[in-house]
């Protein structure tokens, strides 16, 4: 597994501290969306369907940092929109690194080489570019609805690796994904030299134009089992092995919607990164006044029944690692052996 030790240690001590404080709900990864504007219009994306005045807006640097401090999570993921289009992205990342936050800058990498050449970023163990890659060239370009994006992303990955940056990939899988092609894709990413890969099934955003290609739960188990059974030794995943086992159907977890709280220009999104049921004015308001019992599979909420997305379940897997010896042992064994 590819999460660096220092990052594992930071997350582990953070989780243990929360548990010692007796906190039942705590954030693990802040999803900070500085803007919704993007240079792609992927059919599966529910984040970019806004009128022009909203797409032109973005958070100020101060608003971003206030949210980071309010939330306190040790990891900050910056999705969007396309964060490399955010005018203050360099300053934002610098400020997060100074705060010793582990930053995942989630980008389609179209602008990455250009930004690196401009010297917008400096390498740091706290900063990882998380490149959106939904498969090999054909599958990726189809997923993002534009030809040539895969090659551009590979160019960005190479440029970042050459300059000494941490680079990971994030892959969303939809119905119809070919497990054998995905295994080839994993080989290809490892050959490029990325530190690790992140996988998640897609979620059927009610506003995403493409509703037919999202995975149902049983299909998710089947796809991930076929993809990840007998993993090759050189494959590295930058995520909890227990979460991957959950996707393969080897574990049953309940959602932890507060694990990845989301902040954007509308406020703190209730209840999670995927559902938009309203906005809270403060992080405290989000945590204290969201009706959490209405979400997750056990709640019976139909929007949650097929969801197995990382933003709801990876925090559950991490919590499982540190809440009992079995979870800890299973994580250590999977990490050391690479077996899932």
């Amino acid at each position: 597994m590819a999460v660096p030790l220092s990052q594992m240690w930071t997350v582990a001590t953070y989780v243990l501290k929360q548990r010692l404080r007796g906190l039942k709900r705590y954030p693990l990864v802040l999803m900070l969306e500085p803007l919704f504007r993007c240079n792609l219009t992927c059919a599966g994306c529910g984040k970019i369907q806004y009128p022009a005045q909203i797409l032109k807006k973005h958070l100020t640097l101060e608003q971003c940092l206030k949210a980071v401090d309010e939330c306190g999570a040790p990891v900050v993921s910056i999705p969007g929109g396309e964060p490399l289009m955010y005018p203050s992205i360099g300053e934002l990342v610098d400020a997060l690194v100074q705060r010793r936050k582990y930053v995942y800058l989630c980008t389609n990498a179209i602008l990455l080489k250009e930004k690196l050449e401009q010297g917008v970023f400096s390498p740091s163990k706290y900063l990882s570019f998380s490149i959106h890659m939904d498969g090999l060239r054909e599958e990726h370009d189809e997923a993002v609805c534009r030809d040539g994006v895969y090659d551009k992303a590979v160019e960005g990955i190479k440029a970042a690796l050459t300059r000494g940056f941490r680079v990971t990939t994030n892959t969303t899988l939809f119905d119809g994904a070919n497990p054998l092609r995905m295994r080839e894709f994993f080989d290809e990413m490892m050959k490029l030299g990325v530190e690790g890969m992140m996988l998640s099934p897609g979620y059927s955003y009610s506003k995403a134009p493409d509703q037919e290609h999202f995975l149902r739960r049983s299909k998710t188990h089947e796809l991930f089992s076929r993809m990840l059974s007998n993993p090759r030794e050189h494959w590295k995943f930058n995520q909890s092995p227990l979460f991957l086992q959950f996707l393969m159907g080897q574990r049953d977890y309940e959602c932890t919607p507060w694990g990845n709280p989301t902040f954007n220009m509308f406020g703190w999104q209730r209840p999670c990164y995927l559902l938009q049921e309203g906005y809270a004015e403060s992080f405290r308001d989000l945590m204290e006044n969201t009706r959490w019992e209405q979400y997750g599979r056990k709640s019976g909420n139909e929007k949650c029944q097929d969801c197995m997305v990382h933003c709801g379940y990876e925090a559950t897997a991490v919590d499982d690692t540190f809440s009992n010896w079995k979870g800890f042992k299973d994580t250590v064994v999977a990490t050391l052996t690479g077996k899932l």
Partner: protein
């Protein structure tokens, strides 16, 4: 199906609260008609129906805001702006790609006779 262009007719079977919920889900600008006869155009991004005084929040068409409007101040909401979630589907992209391939093949004279 899109609500674009819809002007709801409020009745016992279609309440203002239901229209507000639909407007909150709508990915386009709307026109909020207030009880005092004035109108506010923009994107409704939040609604709180269980607050002591239920309200909506919106950014106007110039992006200013957030503007807070109480439910009690609203007479109706018209779905006047373009529905940004409609169209541009994956299917449409695949069809366009197929069309482009066929056009290219026809130009090169390699397409079906």
């Amino acid at each position: 199906m899109t609500l674009e262009g819809w002007v709801p007719e409020l009745s016992e079977s279609l309440t203002l609260a239901e229209v507000i919920d639909l407007a909150f889900d709508y990915r386009g600008n709307t026109t909020v008609v207030k009880v005092d006869g004035t109108e506010a155009k923009g994107y409704i991004f939040n609604r709180s129906s269980d607050a002591p005084e239920p309200f909506i929040q919106m950014f106007d068409v110039a992006g200013n805001g957030p503007i807070k409007i109480l439910y009690s101040e609203i007479r109706n909401i018209k779905f006047t702006g373009r529905d940004m979630a409609a169209g541009n589907s994956w299917q449409a992209w695949l069809e366009r790609k197929e069309r482009e391939k066929a056009e290219k093949a026809a130009r090169l004279g390699t397409g079906p006779a």
